[in-house]
């Protein structure tokens, strides 16, 4: 029942938002740069536009996905190393904080010279996603209760066995929360990364359509980025519901 209500509210909210977009566009209150939604969708009737957008979408999704997976893996490895070697923990935390404190956009020039224009979107996506996952994983690995840690100590558990059988399972709910935050961060990271001269992608399309006053195309690109982001988030939120049933 509660579930049904949430679904109804979600759908209603989305429809309201789309209607508002349409309305604002129709009335023209914000000028020509805000077209009605129907006009944006109609632009997709043109096969050339559709093709363009499709390729951009694929490129961004690939960069974001690659970055998400790579960033998550690196973050997990670093978090696990920190859990196995406690003396390293404060250093790793600080390193992660520093990496995160540097604005991703400031890394652009550095990345262009090291990984090239094509690789930059995925790397920025990885950095953005990796930080979210690292923070979630570190707090998740410390989330096991004192009583459970005592059980493992009294059983003579090695650090490895404790990690595997206590800390990792106990970290799952927080970790999935972290992944749900990391996925949209990866999409944003990929789009930002594409601004540094990537050959294609939604970020490229956004910039070029903006400069050429292709308002419909610009909105189509922006909405596509939002759709990838929301889809990734929704998938992970579903995973969280499943995990909550299994791990709590």
């Amino acid at each position: 029942m509660n579930r049904a209500r949430t679904t109804v509210l979600t759908v209603a909210g989305t429809l309201l938002l789309l209607a508002a977009m349409e309305g604002v566009g129709r009335l023209g209150v914000l000028g020509e740069s805000w077209p009605p939604l129907t006009q944006v969708v109609a632009a997709l009737d043109d096969p050339i536009t559709r093709d363009l957008l499709g390729r951009a979408l694929a490129a961004t999704a690939t960069a974001a996905g690659t970055g998400f997976v790579a960033g998550t893996l690196v973050a997990l490895v670093v978090a696990v190393v920190g859990a196995l070697l406690p003396p390293l923990q404060p250093g790793l935390d600080r390193l992660a904080a520093v990496v995160n404190a540097v604005p991703l956009i400031a890394l652009g020039p550095l990345l262009i010279t090291t990984v090239g224009r094509e690789g930059t979107p995925a790397v920025i996506a990885a950095l953005a996603a990796g930080f979210a996952v690292f923070v979630a994983a570190t707090s998740g690995l410390g989330a096991a209760g004192a009583a459970h840690r005592d059980v493992f100590r009294a059983l003579g558990s090695s650090r490895r066995a404790t990690l595997l059988r206590l800390q990792l399972p106990a970290a799952v709910p927080l970790l999935i929360d972290g992944l749900a935050l990391a996925a949209p961060a990866a999409v944003l990271g990929a789009v930002v990364g594409e601004w540094f001269g990537a050959p294609r992608g939604l970020g490229v399309l956004l910039v070029s359509s903006m400069q050429n006053f292709q308002t419909d195309l610009m909105w189509a690109a922006a909405l596509s980025a939002a759709v990838i982001s929301l889809t990734a988030y929704a998938a992970l939120a579903g995973l969280r519901v499943a995990a909550a049933r299994r791990f709590v």
Binding site: H148, R153, A154, S158, R165, P169, F247
Partner: protein, 272 residues
Amino acid sequence: MAATGISESPAEATPRTTPAALELRGATKEFRLRRSRTVTALASVDLAVGNGEFVALLGPSGCGKSTVLRMLAGLDTPTRGEVLVNGGAPAELVRGHRLGIAFQEHALLPWATAYDNVALPFRVAGRPVDADRVNALLSLVGLEGFTDARPRQLSGGMRQRVAIARALVLQPEVLLLDEPFGALDAVTRRRMNFELARIWADQQITTLLVTHDVDEAVLLADRVVVLTGRPGTVRHVEDITLPRPRDKALTRDAEFHDIVDRLTALLDEGAE
């Protein structure tokens, strides 16, 4: 101890002839609360449990019984004095996976089934899980139909029984039980008492049992140690020389009631 198996009074013969398996020597435990404020949980407690001996620990709530077990399991260290297991540090027994412990708050893994919780000590020790042993223990504690149940699908008493099975699964050399039957109804509790007595008699596991149930203590133990209220000190040690095996009939015995009444009175005063 081998000679004590048929003796009518194992408690007298056991403790002094062999080196103590578990020993507290003048153990004091203070806990720091806030800055410069400390609470003394235990004050110079002397306690020795012989090899294969069953000792029950009675005392008012908050007198430090759980603290005694935690120190013997190497989870806490005494502020002053010594805590020895087989004459050395408790860590050694723990490292060999030869300690079985059931905590007051069961502490089962919420994501694991009853079976996996009982199998955990095998996995932690890096040994192959002996499925027959796990299942046998689960049916011993009356949970054969619940092997696939998660802790939150079990009642409080059922969780405690899973925790007892987990403590026993590796056939430990030393068994520390912290009010393991606290959440059970009287009938199940007695049944579990007799099962524990049988396991102990079979395997001669050195056992220290914390309980609030004086009947249970007298029924099971070779010796009952009564602690005073906080700070906990040893108030009285009672050798229980009642013949073994002890059964239901014993609970109607006059001598049994005598001992229980005497110990209950001591507890009453100790709580003041």
